[in-house]
Symmetry: C2
Amino acid sequence: MQNFVFYNPTKIIFGRNTVPRIGKETAAFATRVLLVYGQASSKKSGLHGQVMASLAQAGVTVVEHGGVCSNPLLAHVREGIAKVQQEDLQAIVAMGGGSVIDTAKAIAAGSPADCDVWDYFVGKQLITAALPITTVLTLAAAGSEMNSGMVITNEATQEKFAASHPLLYPKVSILDPEQTFTVPPTYTAYGAVDAIAHVLEFYMTTRDVDVPVQRDLMEGLIRNVMQSCARCLADPCDYGGRAALMWTATLALNGLTGAGLGQTAFPMHMIEHSLSALYNVPHGAGLAVVVPAWLRWQLGQDPARIAYLGRMIFSLPEQAADAETAELTIQALRSWFRKTGNPVSLTELNIPASDIPRIAANALALARVWRLNQYTQENIEEILTLAS
Amino acid sequence: MQNFVFYNPTKIIFGRNTVPRIGKETAAFATRVLLVYGQASSKKSGLHGQVMASLAQAGVTVVEHGGVCSNPLLAHVREGIAKVQQEDLQAIVAMGGGSVIDTAKAIAAGSPADCDVWDYFVGKQLITAALPITTVLTLAAAGSEMNSGMVITNEATQEKFAASHPLLYPKVSILDPEQTFTVPPTYTAYGAVDAIAHVLEFYMTTRDVDVPVQRDLMEGLIRNVMQSCARCLADPCDYGGRAALMWTATLALNGLTGAGLGQTAFPMHMIEHSLSALYNVPHGAGLAVVVPAWLRWQLGQDPARIAYLGRMIFSLPEQAADAETAELTIQALRSWFRKTGNPVSLTELNIPASDIPRIAANALALARVWRLNQYTQENIEEILTLAS
């Protein structure tokens, strides 16, 4: 096990009828807030009204900032920052999924900054201050509700980049599984893939092989994502299934899985971010295409690890050879992605193979920012070819 | 899954050569501290000198409070509180295992209090303030380094009672597995049993059967305690084994396993506390005697759950009947306790069966404080008889 620091001060309030607590929890930090949310769904579901009422009752004044889209955009972040500065707001309340929470984080970091917020994403500046953030989660997927990271797309440069800082842990996140009853099957499955990919990035890229506690935890999380996703698809209002998927997705990227693994990386996300940035593909859908391809590309280098995963996740037989079992593992994972309604090839995303060089060039830029120096134009093209 | 709040703000600094960070981490909260520790071992190992040097270098003045014993005593807590008040100290640094950290917590809560600190343990008063606590852990067992609970023995009344409050989460805990290389085999095994018991209390007493995420996590933790303990016994300086045992014991009682389980209870601890209070038995050794007996007493009521555990922990066959598998599970657990050097009967603790009524009467007092109303003098005696 490698040395680590684990520190996660987010307070999670989980369960039925917890949304009305957002007002009082937020009032502990601010009386004037920016409420960040997405498209029409939160108004249709009644959540918007509930959150507004709770904030009003706690004496919190709200400036609204709706319209966050999937693969959230830098321009919209900058508009939010302008509102915070003009109205002298003290905190950000996010109501939505990962895109909304990431937008809220970028506004929280960008509002008190002397520099442009994008400087944080390209590594030009380090975050030194951020407004407090509270959240009401509506999608089991990104894990942003209990971590310190954010991902934003710069639509001008077609870069989908990430940044993180301990100041960006939400102070409080409210997770009510009932708020996800209306998530359509496709997005339920995309979210499941996102959570699985978060675990797999750590699982596959750690160089430490003596991490049994973390490995057991990660395998358990992947199994639970798959089992709970299946329940949600069979019955969108299965509370136990929605609850298990929501909590698992949160645990999949709250720092716990990576604690002790040493240096890890996000190569699958690196490539997927280009699909999202260039084609506005839903993040989970893009990952469902990239993950099996990246694993197949990795097959020659580390069959033992993929085989071990397959034995733990798909109960593949102990006695078969690693190479064969690893191949079966990738097939089983890809089949599961397909079965749950995810695309598993670039073709299914309507992306022609002739675009591969352009996608690889875009991903390479992120590889350089993330210092993933083993990735080249050539091998990213290889991985994308395996995805086509 | 039941509603829950998860909030754990302790910062964990884990790994080799991390002890020298205690000074700077503590200086963030205080310049005058009480250093709480145990017997001679921390001086012999050089840890005491390292901690003192680090605190001095960070400009932190230290008043010492050594002499904490296993099953820490209320009188010693009160002496610590007197020192804090007389010397106007601002924080508590704990250097040791669970007994030391629990003593530090009791001093931290008792020092700013208007009432006697014992009032918190008998439920007469609620904690409303506590000094900040930092810790350097030397034993993988109690989990106190990352939770908000504490257990103290009132030697006058022979009561070993517990209390907890969010203010008691250590601000920072330093976990260096190398500091446990010198823990003797017996105490290594007692610590493992303590960690297993913490998980089992939740596992066995939740009434919610739809908690797959937590169940997987708990089963993984128990497997990892057993595997890592075996490594530590085979080679006390196996860093990977010590690291896995240390981190697993911390995760076993940091709030994560219980989040979502609803109401749970600590009936095995309830009975063990009486063995510690009356006979000064090491806590883990007492648990090794009580746990199999309690499980056997529970066998008639919930064979399915014990059988499921056995299949997940000891790979017992799926097809055998629950009652039979549950019996094999208890036998396997008891055998493992014995194999690792734990006592598994009252006789091995030199406690005669004729003492059972007295022990049960003592445990019953705690059962009333913890509102475990299903426990009576009679059924506690039954459980103790199964342990004899």
